[in-house]
């Protein structure tokens, strides 16, 4: 039917649905009219009235059937039937609450787990930006030498892309920025972003009050209105109590007087998913709020770049056009690297990707783990479905007579199947509803793993990601689909089987005999085999992820995180980076060392395990021919006693001293690995290394430690005293060893407030938490895969228990005879478990094959364990066998202890 005909047919359907009684009456009248005419015709031929009516009715070939056929043409029958089926299904389920609640609960777990993981995928990968026509947005990125996408670009690149390309309505860039602001007596940090002039117009969102940033605001040296800022709805609420006078008022950020020019609508967060900026300032303000080095440098990678496609231009066309101008763009934006670096840079491509759902750095890290989790929860749902199918097969025996009677009185088989399926769908939809509640709770839990990861990054000032986790229509649709698919998956086969039996045969049989259905137990065993295979998959997966986490947690990072607290502060806004700042840090250190409970305090620049740090190529005179890739050394700035605080052994030489200052000789301490690599067979103490063309004398060697990432092998490390930092002292973190679990932060805050009230209050974290947070991804994978593995084992065990109990019940008589004839308990047990064991074995072998085939998928997420680790597989099989044995024990024991007399009498 053509769609435009719907305007004629839809009213007909509605009439059929809502004027049902009226239509029934009409139908009746119409058919009676016909019957009457036919009867009159017959009477005219010369028959009795009775006989004529009878002939007329016979000509109809079944009045009731024809009426039903007429009703069928209305095409709304299914709705009416559905209503009836649902009511009936509700009644049936209410009558067996135990079955219903077990079913709903296991489905809720299966479907809920799927909904939870999907919610995360939705928030991270699928949800479009809340801006007009988000599908016209693209992100622009390049690729490093190794082919990895690199989303941060230089200002020169951004500028050149904007100038050279003709396929975009506009190109915009932004960079996250933490503004310092005074709140009461404290300085606080406010999340914000520096955004280019086209940022708001290209996103297509205007301010609710005032205006947004324009290219005229984003000029070197500031626009005509001076420094301007746009604020978020939330910031407007808590700083300005939603007063309209906020617009036009002044706001001091990073010591710069800004004018607020506009307020964004609620829910607007810009282009970066997972962030919640409160303040947007023009990109060029970086020269005022930062040192401005990045906007001038051609090698500072600090911007995310997106663009809106011109109307009528597809992403493919834009990509082609961009490819044409890429050489020109790269040529004009070449960074001030060495010749080799520049050559490599010129070969880099510029690529486009859809920007419809914005950008987040979490995406690249978590899309793979989330895809694997999606598979894991899918497998859990399959196992739950297999269990449901087994339950329904068992119930089908009990409902045998009911179904036979229905078929006998003329119900269509497909109609009965539909009714049984409706019951299953009701169960799975109920499961989905409970599952959604479960998902709402567990999504938050899962999200914690992602969030902790993010908090651990940077200098400790990372912001907690703020994703919109509310279930939207995508999550609802997904959950509904999961419910329907699983309902059909577990319901169809039992329903078809239940309605297959010949009517008369089954009606004549006694219920007792009907239960002897050999194929039913066969199917149940194959379902069990499938469950076993899927369980092996989940348990082996759990083993791999738990193993990885275990390896990482028990790994010696080279330092002792116990009772160590890190407090990060931000001194970047201090005008002097030299002696006064060193004096400030010294005073704060003194205060800390004097606090009760503090064993020792020190300073460092990059907190370990944040995946960030400073690395450079070291040179050693005279011209040691060590290849480039073996001289790459991680560098950190520390204060004296750092090694003592962190429990890192000084192997030879000395620690830094207060006398190592900006005027004394430049000194450094290397780790054992660097000593071995850079100075093989010689004592490194007193030797020199060259960093940035300056020579540094080695005064000590310390034990190896992890630096940026626990998962990487120990790097070559060079420690320098912070007092000798070449570009002035950066923002440092205090590391404090305490005796026991002593909270230092409040006292530190008081001291900071007294000594330097213009420095924002820092944030504190224990080193142990830092270690844990750096393993967010591993903890996510390990805890979830173990949870799902246990769930799979439980479901499979329940399935096995059910089948064996059923086998024993079915063969009670036979077993009794065997025992009476002298069978020993082991014989009896073997008899009971024999067939089932073979199926489980087949399942396990299949599972192993699947694990071996799929394990490559997870290789990149593992640490210290190979994906096809034989020990892990053996362990998985053993665990599964253990659970299976437990599940088999009760029914097998029951069988071996049967009293033959009782058993035979029962028969």
């Amino acid at each position: 039917m053509r769609p435009q005909d719907w305007i004629y047919t839809v009213p007909l359907r509605l009439r059929s649905l809502f004027r049902r009684n009226h239509l029934e009456q009409e139908l009746n009248e119409e058919l009676q009219f016909h019957l009457q005419h036919r009867a009159e015709e017959e009477m005219a031929k010369g028959g009795g009235e009775e006989e004529a009516r009878f002939i007329a009715l016979r000509a109809m070939e079944g009045l009731a059937q024809q009426k039903e056929a007429c009703r069928d043409t209305r095409r709304v029958n299914w709705i009416e039937d559905l209503g009836r089926d649902l009511r009936y299904a509700g009644r049936v389920l209410r009558k067996s609450p135990a079955f219903a609640s077990v079913a709903v609960l296991s489905l809720a777990l299966g479907i809920g787990a799927n909904a939870a993981v999907f919610s995360l995928i939705n928030a991270l990968l699928l949800r479009p930006l809340p801006v007009p026509a988000p599908e016209r947005l693209v992100t622009i990125f390049t690729r490093t030498e190794s082919g990895h996408p690199q989303h941060s670009l230089t200002y020169a690149l951004f500028e050149q892309i904007a100038i050279q390309s003709r396929v975009f309505s506009g190109v915009f860039a932004w960079s996250g920025h933490k503004f310092q602001m005074r709140a009461g007596s404290d300085m606080v940090h406010v999340d914000g972003a520096l955004a280019s002039g086209e940022y708001f117009s290209m996103l297509g969102v205007s301010a609710v009050i005032g205006r947004t940033l324009t290219p005229a605001d984003d000029q070197p040296g500031g626009g005509k209105d001076g420094p301007v800022a746009v604020i978020s709805d939330g910031f407007w609420s808590h700083q300005y109590q939603r007063k309209a006078s906020a617009v036009g008022s002044g706001l001091t950020l990073d010591g710069v007087r800004f004018t607020v020019i506009g307020v964004m609508p609620p829910g607007f967060f810009g282009a970066e998913v997972g962030t919640n900026p409160d303040i947007w300032a023009p990109l060029w303000m970086t020269t005022r709020v930062d040192d401005g080095h990045c906007i001038a440098s051609r090698s500072c990678w600090w911007l995310n770049v997106m663009a809106r496609l011109k109307p009528g231009i597809s992403q493919e066309q834009a990509q082609t056009a961009l490819k044409v101008v890429t050489p020109q763009v790269m040529q004009n934006a070449v960074p001030d690297w060495g010749e080799a670096g520049q050559k490599e840079f010129l070969r880099r491509p510029l690529s486009l990707a859809s920007g419809a759902n914005g950008w987040t750095e979490l995406r690249s890290e978590f899309s793979n783990p989330l895809a694997i989790l999606m598979i894991l929860v899918g497998v859990v749902l399959l196992i739950a479905c297999a269990n449901m199918a087994n339950l329904l097969l068992a119930r089908a025996s009990a409902r045998h007579r009911e179904i036979s009677v229905r078929l006998a009185v003329g119900a269509d088989r497909s109609r009965v199947v539909r009714q049984l399926l409706t019951e299953c769908l009701l169960l799975s939809v109920l499961g989905a509803i409970v599952g959604l509640l479960f998902a709402r709770w567990s999504t938050r839990l899962l999200f914690g793993f992602l969030a902790s990861k993010r908090e651990g990054s940077g200098l400790g000032f990372g912001q907690t990601p703020a994703f919109d986790l509310h279930p939207d229509w995508r999550v609802m649709l997904f959950t509904l689909l999961a419910a329907i698919v699983s309902g059909i998956l577990f319901g169809l086969m039992p329903a078809l089987r239940a309605t297959r039996i010949g009517i008369s045969a089954s009606l004549k049989e006694r219920v007792h005999n009907v239960q002897r259905d050999p194929t039913r137990i066969g199917i149940a065993r194959w379902l069990l085999a499938a469950q076993a295979a899927l369980s092996v998959l989940l348990v082996a997966g759990a083993g791999l992820f738990a193993g990885s986490l275990f390896h990482l947690l028990t790994l010696n990072p080279g330092f002792d995180p116990r009772n160590v607290t890190i407090i990060a502060i931000d001194t970047d806004k201090r005008p002097q980076k030299g002696a006064p700042l060193i004096a400030l840090y010294s005073r704060l250190l003194e205060r800390l060392n004097a606090m009760p409970g503090v064993k020792k305090a020190s300073l460092l620049w990059f907190t370990p395990l944040t995946e960030s740090g400073w690395d450079d190529l070291l040179d050693i005179p005279p011209g040691t021919a060590l290849p480039k890739d073996q001289r790459d050394t991680d560098i950190n700035l520390v204060a004296p006693h750092y090694f003592e605080v962190m429990g890192i052994a000084v192997v030879s030489g000395r620690d830094f001293r207060d006398s190592d200052n900006s005027v004394s000789e430049k000194v450094g301490i290397i780790n054992e690995l660097a000593a071995r690599k850079l100075f093989p067979h010689t004592n490194p103490i007193g030797r020199e290394v060259i960093l940035e063309k300056k020579s540094i004398r080695i005064v000590g060697v310390v034990a190896n430690t992890k630096y940026m990432d626990l998962r990487e092998p120990d790097p070559l490390t060079l420690y320098l005293p912070y007092t000798q930092a070449s570009d002035g002292v950066p923002s440092l973190s205090f590391v404090i060893k305490t005796s026991g679990d002593v909270p230092i932060y409040p006292e530190f805050r008081a001291a900071l407030h007294e000594i330097a009230p213009d420095i924002p209050v820092g944030i504190a974290k224990t080193m142990q938490k830092q270690v844990n947070d750096s393993l967010g991804r591993e903890r996510l994978m390990a805890s979830l895969s173990v949870f799902f593995g246990v769930l799979a084992l439980l479901l499979t065990s329940i399935g096995l228990y059910g089948i064996l109990s059923y086998t024993v019940a079915r063969r009670t008589g036979e077993i009794g005879v065997r025992i009476a004839l002298g069978a020993r308990p082991p014989n009896v047990i073997w008899l009971v478990v024999r067939e089932t064991i073979s199926h489980i074995a087949i399942g396990i072998v299949t599972g192993i094959v699947v694990v071996l085939a799929m394990s490559r998928l997870v290789a990149s997420l593992l640490y210290g364990i190979r994906p096809n680790d034989p020990g892990n597989l053996v362990l998985a099989v053993l665990v599964l066998t253990g659970f299976a044995t437990l599940a088999a024990y009760l029914p097998a024991r029951r069988a071996s202890r049967l009293d033959p007399m009782l058993a035979l009498r029962e028969e």
Partner: protein, 111 residues
Amino acid sequence: MSKPSDLVQGTLDLLLLKILALEPLHGWAVSQRLQQVSGDVLRVSDGSLYPALHKLEQEAWIKAEWKTTENNRRAKFYSLTRLGRRQLEKEAATWSRLSDAISRVVQLQEI
């Protein structure tokens, strides 16, 4: 009576549409007319006539009205709609193409 002498699938629709295109009729009259015009060759059982009519009505090809017959009885009269007329043209064209093709095959001379 068997099925409507196994009318080619869909042909019943064409016949009913054609009959109703001539004048609005009630079900009984349609069955009489069918028998009359096709000379008892195409007989539609009393039973299967009504589902067929209802189907056409639900497709919005015909519409029904309650009117009084000449014998002063209330009856449901069916008449063609605009959609129905279009459908009739389409089905008639299909039918003639089909029957032409078949008759050409049937008339092939055996060699």
